[in-house]
Amino acid sequence: MQIVPNRRFSIQAATWLLLAAIALAVFAACVSENDLTPDQRAYTLDRELMCPVCDGQTIDQSHAQIAEDMKEIVREKIAQGESNGQIRDYFVARYGEVVLASPEASGFNLLVWLMPVVIAGGGALTVVWVLKNMRRGSAAATASIQNSTLADRQLEKYLEKVDADIGYGRDSAGISQTTEGRESGNG
Protein backbone atom coordinates (compact mmCIF):
# COMPACT_ATOMS: atom_id res chain seq x y z
CA MET A 1 0.00 0.00 0.00
CA GLN A 2 1.39 3.37 -0.96
CA ILE A 3 1.55 5.96 1.85
CA VAL A 4 0.46 9.39 0.71
CA PRO A 5 2.44 12.38 2.18
CA ASN A 6 -0.43 13.63 4.40
CA ARG A 7 -0.90 10.24 5.95
CA ARG A 8 2.84 9.83 6.51
CA PHE A 9 2.84 13.20 8.30
CA SER A 10 -0.04 12.09 10.55
CA ILE A 11 1.73 8.87 11.48
CA GLN A 12 4.94 10.79 12.28
CA ALA A 13 3.03 13.34 14.36
CA ALA A 14 1.23 10.59 16.27
CA THR A 15 4.54 8.82 16.93
CA TRP A 16 6.13 12.01 18.26
CA LEU A 17 3.12 12.70 20.46
CA LEU A 18 3.24 9.18 21.87
CA LEU A 19 6.99 9.49 22.58
CA ALA A 20 6.45 12.87 24.25
CA ALA A 21 3.68 11.42 26.44
CA ILE A 22 5.92 8.50 27.46
CA ALA A 23 8.81 10.87 28.24
CA LEU A 24 6.51 13.06 30.33
CA ALA A 25 5.18 10.05 32.25
CA VAL A 26 8.74 8.80 32.92
CA PHE A 27 9.77 12.29 34.07
CA ALA A 28 6.74 12.58 36.37
CA ALA A 29 7.49 9.16 37.84
CA CYS A 30 11.11 10.13 38.47
CA VAL A 31 10.21 13.29 40.42
CA SER A 32 9.85 11.90 43.92
CA GLU A 33 8.19 13.74 46.79
CA ASN A 34 11.68 14.29 48.25
CA ASP A 35 12.48 16.61 45.32
CA LEU A 36 9.63 18.92 46.32
CA THR A 37 9.56 21.53 49.06
CA PRO A 38 7.07 20.96 51.93
CA ASP A 39 4.85 23.67 50.44
CA GLN A 40 4.87 22.01 47.02
CA ARG A 41 4.04 18.67 48.62
CA ALA A 42 1.20 20.26 50.58
CA TYR A 43 -0.26 21.85 47.43
CA THR A 44 0.03 18.54 45.59
CA LEU A 45 -1.84 16.75 48.39
CA ASP A 46 -4.44 19.54 48.59
CA ARG A 47 -5.27 18.80 44.96
CA GLU A 48 -5.45 15.04 45.60
CA LEU A 49 -7.91 15.17 48.51
CA MET A 50 -11.63 15.85 48.19
CA CYS A 51 -13.52 18.05 50.61
CA PRO A 52 -15.94 15.61 52.35
CA VAL A 53 -18.81 18.09 52.61
CA CYS A 54 -18.46 19.89 49.28
CA ASP A 55 -19.82 19.13 45.83
CA GLY A 56 -16.92 17.71 43.84
CA GLN A 57 -14.28 20.08 45.16
CA THR A 58 -10.80 19.24 46.32
CA ILE A 59 -9.65 20.82 49.58
CA ASP A 60 -7.46 23.04 47.41
CA GLN A 61 -10.58 24.48 45.73
CA SER A 62 -12.87 24.58 48.77
CA HIS A 63 -13.12 27.24 51.45
CA ALA A 64 -15.31 25.11 53.74
CA GLN A 65 -14.11 24.97 57.32
CA ILE A 66 -13.42 21.24 57.13
CA ALA A 67 -11.29 21.76 54.01
CA GLU A 68 -9.25 24.40 55.83
CA ASP A 69 -8.83 21.99 58.77
CA MET A 70 -7.72 19.22 56.43
CA LYS A 71 -5.15 21.54 54.80
CA GLU A 72 -3.69 22.31 58.20
CA ILE A 73 -3.53 18.63 59.09
CA VAL A 74 -1.74 17.93 55.79
CA ARG A 75 0.90 20.56 56.61
CA GLU A 76 1.30 19.28 60.17
CA LYS A 77 1.80 15.74 59.00
CA ILE A 78 4.37 16.81 56.39
CA ALA A 79 6.23 18.70 59.12
CA GLN A 80 6.12 15.54 61.25
CA GLY A 81 7.91 13.67 58.45
CA GLU A 82 5.03 11.58 57.13
CA SER A 83 5.11 10.52 53.48
CA ASN A 84 2.43 11.49 50.96
CA GLY A 85 1.21 7.88 51.02
CA GLN A 86 0.87 7.90 54.80
CA ILE A 87 -1.05 11.17 54.71
CA ARG A 88 -3.39 9.88 52.00
CA ASP A 89 -3.92 6.67 54.01
CA TYR A 90 -4.80 8.73 57.10
CA PHE A 91 -7.66 10.45 55.27
CA VAL A 92 -8.77 7.29 53.44
CA ALA A 93 -9.05 5.45 56.79
CA ARG A 94 -11.49 8.12 57.99
CA TYR A 95 -13.42 9.15 54.90
CA GLY A 96 -13.02 6.13 52.63
CA GLU A 97 -11.54 6.14 49.14
CA VAL A 98 -14.03 8.81 48.03
CA VAL A 99 -11.73 11.31 49.73
CA LEU A 100 -9.18 10.73 46.95
CA ALA A 101 -9.64 12.90 43.86
CA SER A 102 -8.21 10.05 41.77
CA PRO A 103 -9.02 6.56 43.00
CA GLU A 104 -6.17 4.11 43.59
CA ALA A 105 -5.42 2.04 40.48
CA SER A 106 -6.11 -1.29 42.12
CA GLY A 107 -8.98 -3.73 42.61
CA PHE A 108 -12.37 -2.61 41.34
CA ASN A 109 -11.05 0.94 40.92
CA LEU A 110 -8.89 -0.32 38.06
CA LEU A 111 -12.08 -0.15 35.99
CA VAL A 112 -12.06 3.64 36.30
CA TRP A 113 -8.55 3.75 34.84
CA LEU A 114 -9.02 1.06 32.23
CA MET A 115 -12.46 2.11 31.03
CA PRO A 116 -11.30 5.21 29.09
CA VAL A 117 -8.57 3.13 27.40
CA VAL A 118 -11.07 0.39 26.56
CA ILE A 119 -13.61 2.92 25.29
CA ALA A 120 -11.01 4.78 23.20
CA GLY A 121 -9.62 1.48 21.87
CA GLY A 122 -13.09 0.13 21.11
CA GLY A 123 -14.03 3.39 19.39
CA ALA A 124 -10.85 3.37 17.31
CA LEU A 125 -11.39 -0.27 16.31
CA THR A 126 -15.00 0.50 15.32
CA VAL A 127 -13.86 3.44 13.18
CA VAL A 128 -11.14 1.32 11.52
CA TRP A 129 -13.64 -1.48 10.92
CA VAL A 130 -16.19 0.90 9.39
CA LEU A 131 -13.56 2.57 7.20
CA LYS A 132 -12.27 -0.81 6.04
CA ASN A 133 -15.80 -1.90 5.17
CA MET A 134 -16.34 1.32 3.22
CA ARG A 135 -13.07 0.81 1.34
CA ARG A 136 -13.95 -2.83 0.65
CA GLY A 137 -17.33 -1.72 -0.69
CA SER A 138 -15.67 0.83 -2.95
CA ALA A 139 -13.15 -1.79 -4.22
CA ALA A 140 -16.01 -4.18 -4.93
CA ALA A 141 -17.80 -1.52 -6.96
CA THR A 142 -14.62 -0.83 -9.00
CA ALA A 143 -14.12 -4.54 -9.58
CA SER A 144 -17.72 -4.81 -10.73
CA ILE A 145 -17.20 -2.04 -13.31
CA GLN A 146 -13.97 -3.71 -14.48
CA ASN A 147 -15.77 -7.04 -14.72
CA SER A 148 -18.54 -5.56 -16.84
CA THR A 149 -15.97 -4.02 -19.24
CA LEU A 150 -14.34 -7.42 -19.50
CA ALA A 151 -17.72 -9.00 -20.26
CA ASP A 152 -18.31 -6.43 -23.05
CA ARG A 153 -14.98 -7.32 -24.59
CA GLN A 154 -15.76 -11.03 -24.42
CA LEU A 155 -19.18 -10.40 -25.97
CA GLU A 156 -17.58 -8.44 -28.82
CA LYS A 157 -15.18 -11.30 -29.48
CA TYR A 158 -18.08 -13.73 -29.45
CA LEU A 159 -20.05 -11.61 -31.92
CA GLU A 160 -17.03 -11.39 -34.21
CA LYS A 161 -16.79 -15.15 -34.08
CA VAL A 162 -20.50 -15.50 -34.89
CA ASP A 163 -20.15 -13.02 -37.77
CA ALA A 164 -17.21 -14.96 -39.11
CA ASP A 165 -19.09 -18.23 -38.84
CA ILE A 166 -22.14 -16.98 -40.72
CA GLY A 167 -20.06 -15.16 -43.29
CA TYR A 168 -20.49 -11.49 -42.38
CA GLY A 169 -17.31 -9.48 -42.57
CA ARG A 170 -16.22 -7.10 -39.80
CA ASP A 171 -13.84 -4.30 -40.46
CA SER A 172 -11.61 -2.61 -37.98
CA ALA A 173 -14.04 0.32 -37.48
CA GLY A 174 -16.09 -1.55 -34.90
CA ILE A 175 -19.49 -2.93 -34.13
CA SER A 176 -21.65 -0.20 -35.73
CA GLN A 177 -20.09 -0.75 -39.15
CA THR A 178 -20.37 -4.47 -38.68
CA THR A 179 -24.03 -3.99 -37.90
CA GLU A 180 -24.47 -1.85 -41.01
CA GLY A 181 -22.69 -4.52 -43.03
CA ARG A 182 -24.95 -7.13 -41.55
CA GLU A 183 -28.01 -5.02 -42.35
CA SER A 184 -26.85 -4.37 -45.96
CA GLY A 185 -26.16 -8.09 -46.39
CA ASN A 186 -29.67 -8.80 -45.29
CA GLY A 187 -31.05 -6.32 -47.83
Binding site: M70, V118, G122, G123, V130
Partner: protein, 194 residues
Protein backbone atom coordinates in the same frame (compact mmCIF):
# COMPACT_ATOMS: atom_id res chain seq x y z
CA UNK B 1 -22.51 -8.51 11.84
CA UNK B 2 -23.93 -5.53 10.02
CA UNK B 3 -22.15 -2.19 10.09
CA UNK B 4 -25.04 -0.57 11.95
CA UNK B 5 -24.98 -3.24 14.66
CA UNK B 6 -21.20 -2.89 15.04
CA UNK B 7 -21.53 0.86 15.54
CA UNK B 8 -24.36 0.36 18.03
CA UNK B 9 -22.22 -2.06 20.06
CA UNK B 10 -19.04 0.03 19.74
CA UNK B 11 -20.77 3.18 21.00
CA UNK B 12 -23.61 1.79 23.10
CA UNK B 13 -21.66 -0.69 25.21
CA UNK B 14 -19.10 1.84 26.49
CA UNK B 15 -21.92 4.30 27.23
CA UNK B 16 -23.82 1.65 29.20
CA UNK B 17 -20.63 0.80 31.12
CA UNK B 18 -19.99 4.48 31.87
CA UNK B 19 -23.56 4.97 33.08
CA UNK B 20 -23.22 1.87 35.31
CA UNK B 21 -20.00 3.22 36.82
CA UNK B 22 -21.66 6.58 37.49
CA UNK B 23 -24.67 4.90 39.13
CA UNK B 24 -22.35 2.78 41.25
CA UNK B 25 -20.40 5.86 42.34
CA UNK B 26 -23.57 7.73 43.32
CA UNK B 27 -24.91 4.69 45.20
CA UNK B 28 -21.60 4.38 47.07
CA UNK B 29 -21.98 7.97 48.16
CA UNK B 30 -25.40 7.46 49.69
CA UNK B 31 -27.27 8.69 46.65
CA UNK B 32 -25.77 12.16 46.69
CA UNK B 33 -23.02 13.49 44.47
CA UNK B 34 -21.75 15.53 47.39
CA UNK B 35 -22.90 15.79 50.98
CA UNK B 36 -23.89 19.03 52.59
CA UNK B 37 -22.47 19.72 56.05
CA UNK B 38 -25.77 19.06 57.82
CA UNK B 39 -27.19 15.56 58.28
CA UNK B 40 -30.92 16.16 58.16
CA UNK B 41 -32.00 12.51 58.07
CA UNK B 42 -31.39 9.87 60.70
CA UNK B 43 -29.44 6.69 60.08
CA UNK B 44 -26.76 4.38 61.38
CA UNK B 45 -23.76 4.41 59.07
CA UNK B 46 -20.43 2.67 58.63
CA UNK B 47 -17.93 3.64 61.28
CA UNK B 48 -15.49 6.29 60.10
CA UNK B 49 -13.37 6.67 63.22
CA UNK B 50 -10.68 4.16 64.08
CA UNK B 51 -11.77 1.80 66.89
CA UNK B 52 -8.98 3.20 69.06
CA UNK B 53 -9.66 6.86 68.24
CA UNK B 54 -9.36 9.28 71.10
CA UNK B 55 -9.30 12.99 71.74
CA UNK B 56 -8.03 15.70 74.01
CA UNK B 57 -10.76 18.28 74.30
CA UNK B 58 -10.58 21.65 75.97
CA UNK B 59 -13.98 22.02 77.59
CA UNK B 60 -15.92 25.27 77.77
CA UNK B 61 -14.83 25.73 81.39
CA UNK B 62 -11.17 25.44 80.33
CA UNK B 63 -10.29 21.97 81.59
CA UNK B 64 -8.86 19.29 79.35
CA UNK B 65 -10.60 15.94 79.04
CA UNK B 66 -9.60 12.84 77.09
CA UNK B 67 -11.67 9.89 76.00
CA UNK B 68 -9.32 7.65 77.94
CA UNK B 69 -10.56 8.96 81.29
CA UNK B 70 -14.06 7.58 80.64
CA UNK B 71 -12.85 3.98 80.32
CA UNK B 72 -15.41 1.64 81.89
CA UNK B 73 -18.34 3.80 80.78
CA UNK B 74 -20.37 3.88 77.61
CA UNK B 75 -19.66 7.23 75.98
CA UNK B 76 -21.68 9.08 73.39
CA UNK B 77 -19.55 11.61 71.52
CA UNK B 78 -21.76 14.14 69.76
CA UNK B 79 -20.43 16.45 67.02
CA UNK B 80 -22.74 19.42 66.66
CA UNK B 81 -23.01 23.14 65.89
CA UNK B 82 -25.16 25.87 67.35
CA UNK B 83 -26.27 26.96 63.84
CA UNK B 84 -27.32 23.48 62.69
CA UNK B 85 -31.13 23.04 62.67
CA UNK B 86 -31.25 19.28 63.51
CA UNK B 87 -28.71 19.86 66.33
CA UNK B 88 -30.84 22.64 67.74
CA UNK B 89 -33.96 20.48 67.49
CA UNK B 90 -32.48 17.58 69.42
CA UNK B 91 -30.62 19.68 72.03
CA UNK B 92 -33.35 19.59 74.74
CA UNK B 93 -33.89 15.85 74.19
CA UNK B 94 -30.15 15.19 74.60
CA UNK B 95 -30.09 17.19 77.83
CA UNK B 96 -33.02 15.18 79.19
CA UNK B 97 -31.70 11.79 78.00
CA UNK B 98 -28.36 12.49 79.69
CA UNK B 99 -30.10 13.10 83.01
CA UNK B 100 -31.82 9.72 82.66
CA UNK B 101 -28.66 7.78 81.73
CA UNK B 102 -25.80 9.46 83.60
CA UNK B 103 -26.23 7.23 86.65
CA UNK B 104 -26.26 4.09 84.52
CA UNK B 105 -22.62 4.11 83.43
CA UNK B 106 -23.15 6.45 80.49
CA UNK B 107 -21.32 9.68 79.69
CA UNK B 108 -22.10 12.24 76.99
CA UNK B 109 -19.44 14.48 75.47
CA UNK B 110 -20.47 17.28 73.14
CA UNK B 111 -17.93 18.56 70.61
CA UNK B 112 -19.01 21.74 68.86
CA UNK B 113 -17.37 22.07 65.43
CA UNK B 114 -17.26 24.75 62.73
CA UNK B 115 -18.60 27.15 65.33
CA UNK B 116 -17.68 30.00 67.67
CA UNK B 117 -17.59 30.23 71.43
CA UNK B 118 -20.35 32.74 72.05
CA UNK B 119 -23.27 31.00 70.23
CA UNK B 120 -22.13 27.66 71.66
CA UNK B 121 -22.27 29.00 75.23
CA UNK B 122 -25.62 30.60 74.51
CA UNK B 123 -27.16 27.41 73.13
CA UNK B 124 -25.93 25.28 76.06
CA UNK B 125 -27.40 27.70 78.57
CA UNK B 126 -30.73 27.90 76.79
CA UNK B 127 -31.17 24.11 76.44
CA UNK B 128 -29.95 23.26 79.94
CA UNK B 129 -27.28 20.85 78.68
CA UNK B 130 -25.12 19.83 81.62
CA UNK B 131 -22.79 17.25 80.09
CA UNK B 132 -19.21 18.04 79.05
CA UNK B 133 -18.92 20.25 76.01
CA UNK B 134 -15.99 21.76 74.18
CA UNK B 135 -15.20 23.64 71.02
CA UNK B 136 -13.04 21.72 68.52
CA UNK B 137 -10.59 23.51 66.26
CA UNK B 138 -11.40 20.94 63.57
CA UNK B 139 -8.72 18.36 64.37
CA UNK B 140 -10.94 15.99 66.35
CA UNK B 141 -13.70 16.13 63.73
CA UNK B 142 -11.32 15.20 60.91
CA UNK B 143 -9.61 12.58 63.07
CA UNK B 144 -13.01 10.95 63.66
CA UNK B 145 -14.03 11.21 60.01
CA UNK B 146 -16.94 13.58 60.62
CA UNK B 147 -18.74 14.56 57.41
CA UNK B 148 -21.66 16.54 58.75
CA UNK B 149 -23.59 17.45 61.87
CA UNK B 150 -25.09 16.07 63.97
CA UNK B 151 -22.99 12.90 64.10
CA UNK B 152 -22.78 10.66 67.15
CA UNK B 153 -20.17 8.06 67.91
CA UNK B 154 -20.66 5.45 70.61
CA UNK B 155 -17.71 4.17 72.58
CA UNK B 156 -18.06 0.95 74.56
CA UNK B 157 -16.81 0.36 78.09
CA UNK B 158 -13.49 -0.92 76.67
CA UNK B 159 -12.86 2.42 75.01
CA UNK B 160 -13.55 1.18 71.48
CA UNK B 161 -15.53 3.29 69.04
CA UNK B 162 -18.26 0.86 67.96
CA UNK B 163 -21.22 2.69 66.43
CA UNK B 164 -21.95 5.83 64.44
CA UNK B 165 -25.32 7.51 64.00
CA UNK B 166 -25.98 10.53 61.83
CA UNK B 167 -28.88 12.95 61.75
CA UNK B 168 -31.38 14.01 64.37
CA UNK B 169 -32.20 11.45 67.09
CA UNK B 170 -35.26 10.85 69.17
CA UNK B 171 -35.17 9.74 72.80
CA UNK B 172 -36.26 6.27 71.62
CA UNK B 173 -33.48 5.77 69.05
CA UNK B 174 -30.83 7.04 71.43
CA UNK B 175 -32.06 4.95 74.36
CA UNK B 176 -32.13 1.83 72.19
CA UNK B 177 -28.41 2.16 71.34
CA UNK B 178 -27.50 3.05 74.92
CA UNK B 179 -29.46 0.05 76.21
CA UNK B 180 -27.63 -2.28 73.83
CA UNK B 181 -24.22 -0.95 74.78
CA UNK B 182 -24.80 -0.86 78.53
CA UNK B 183 -26.28 -4.38 78.41
CA UNK B 184 -23.21 -5.49 76.50
CA UNK B 185 -20.96 -3.89 79.13
CA UNK B 186 -22.84 -5.80 81.83
CA UNK B 187 -22.59 -9.03 79.85
CA UNK B 188 -26.31 -9.14 79.08
CA UNK B 189 -27.09 -10.46 75.61
CA UNK B 190 -29.81 -8.40 73.93
CA UNK B 191 -31.38 -8.93 70.53
CA UNK B 192 -29.86 -6.17 68.46
CA UNK B 193 -32.19 -4.32 66.16
CA UNK B 194 -29.43 -2.54 64.32
Amino acid sequence: MTQRRAIAIGVGLPLVLLASLLAWGVAQNGGAAGRPGVNSSFGEVKLSAQPNAGFQLTTLDGSIVSLEQFRGKVVMVDFWSSWCAPCKAEGPMLAETYRVWRDRGVEFVGIAIWDERSPVDDFIQRTGIDYINGLDDGRIAVDWGVRGIPEKFFVNADGEVVRKIIGPNTEATLSRVLTELTDEALGIRTSSTR
